[in-house]
Symmetry: C2
Subunit: 320 residues, 2 copies
């Protein structure tokens, strides 16, 4: 759906700021904070956390960049919240509250913003998230929603990207590649899986895949190590195969290079009882889990492994 | 300073995302979080708060809206953080950590983004704020920085906009109007004053002035009451007088209607020993404090008061 209208009477400018905020609150429904600490004060006020690490992440959706006319306002809103939920999942955390800062051209239609906020509210309630506040700034042309999500650790441990060692096994959830065909809006953030991983001592490090496995894997790789992957082991999605049949690239290339998988990537200690670990996952989750290789020392041979340097993930700001 | 460059070699696109993030971290200097919980993981990780209410606020600066070519990147960065600090001040809170989400066209110059982040880092350190993380999203044309600031209550009490009663006295800090002549970037967020107000039982409610007194005052006014102001009492700024001499509007109109004062507006109980309260303020702060009137019941006469309905603050999204 195109977010803009040429009919001034149907635009957000026709509402004005005060009425728009009242509408946003109504559209968010049960996702808003209870009075007196709700939307509309200088700050959102949240209850003190239960002496656990606080997690904060921020990601936007921008029209023309993260969604377009082919995407419904509801799908754009879900993508906004779920991108941030996926970051909380990637630390093994529990999401709690969000604030949303809008950059809003005055010719955005009321129908679009209504669809967006209603879906945002529903998605927030479904994940136990309160939309605690926000800001609206008029912008000339750019339509964007910048969400900051707060969460807390699910236990004493927060899983970061640091901690992999030589011999650790590498795993991914789900299937990779071709997200642009639909998954980039319809994915399920792996929150329960992330919490479970944070409770398991054999898990060393964890992240979510947003820029493609070939690129994101570098973030987990400490100096002196290299990821040794087996091409045949990679869980290539059906969408990656569909794209490959259209554009002449291989499905493997799509699985390694496409962005917005929003799956979990993690390493577990090399001495782990892997069958027991995998059984533990499968008794809890229907999400596929795949061992894709392990971390080797630089120079150490583990037989034939994927030449990852030939693949490139999504490069922001690439090229001049 | 114009943020854009026509020389690709001098643009942020020439750096690419990874090097840009490394630069941002360096430019922020001591304002970044210590490893391993610093910039670059899926979420920023903050220590658990000391069982006090958590405060969250979000405000952007957008090129062409909140700053322009006449403003240095340093001044734009300070405005960004201080707008949010002013919101924490307006709840009587203490600022702690921030995340910054950038909407960044690739033709932004490295010189501009360096000036912006260096100043952001210095301003953050000065206020005890950690820049804990963020996001960079490429945008076609809009340059904007969306900051979310976390803080905590300075004590058991959080001052909201609710709580004014008939007979309460109204106060403002500083002088009002004409902010566009320079104060909109150079103001001092009233953090110490806000904390002190939150510790005083006679203070009923508190907010910061961002859209002009005439408009913002409505936010503090409960149903059944009206603010009864004395025109002669209003602290009119020199800048408001300068603007008035140029545009033919009155200085009073500017003091009531101009946005971005970033001063505190609050009400104290009608039975308060006002001289003692004002002495308490003046022994602590050099910031001017002015009693501008009181809350009356609707229909109740308090002599000649300002016809506030004739004045209008800054209207976002006004007009179709």
């Amino acid at each position: 759906m195109n977010p803009f209208t040429t009919d001034p009477a149907q635009s957000v400018a026709a509402l004005g700021e005060r009425r728009l905020i009242a509408h946003l609150r109504a559209w968010l429904g049960k996702a808003t904070s209870p009075a007196p600490f709700g939307i509309g004060d200088d700050c959102a006020v949240l209850p003190a956390s239960r002496s656990r690490h606080l997690l904060v992440t921020t990601d936007p959706v921008i029209y023309g960049r993260h969604f377009d006319d082919a995407i419904s306002p509801a799908a754009a809103a879900e993508k906004l919240l779920k991108r941030n939920l996926s970051d909380i999942a990637a630390m093994g955390g529990v999401p709690r509250s969000a604030v949303v800062s809008l950059a809003l051209p005055r010719r955005v239609s009321i129908a679009w913003i209504r669809g967006f906020y209603r879906a945002l509210g529903r998605c927030a309630v479904r994940h136990g998230v309160t939309i605690a506040g926000g800001d609206i700034a008029e912008s000339a042309d750019m339509l964007g929603a910048f969400l900051t999500l707060l969460g807390e650790a699910s236990g004493p441990r927060v899983l970061t990207r640091q901690g992999a060692r030589a011999g650790d096994w590498l795993y991914v959830s789900g299937a990779l590649g071709g997200s642009i065909l639909g998954k980039h809006c319809r994915f399920t953030p792996r929150l329960a899986e992330g919490r479970w991983l944070a409770s398991r001592r054999e898990v060393r490090c964890l992240m979510d895949l947003s820029d493609g496995l070939a690129k994101d894997l570098l973030e987990l790789t400490p100096a002196g190590l290299r990821p040794a992957l087996t091409a045949a082991a990679l869980p290539v999605s059906r969408a990656a195969r569909t794209l490959a049949s259209r554009d002449g690239r291989t499905a493997l290339d799509h699985a390694l290079s496409d962005g917005e998988d929003f799956e979990l990537l993690f390493a577990i200690a090399g001495r782990t009882d892997r069958p027991a670990f995998e059984r533990g996952w499968r008794t809890r989750f229907s999400t596929p889990l795949t061992c894709i290789g392990r971390f080797a020392r630089t120079g150490e041979s583990l037989g034939e492994t994927l030449p990852l340097e030939r693949y490139h993930g999504y490069e922001h700001l690439a090229g001049a």
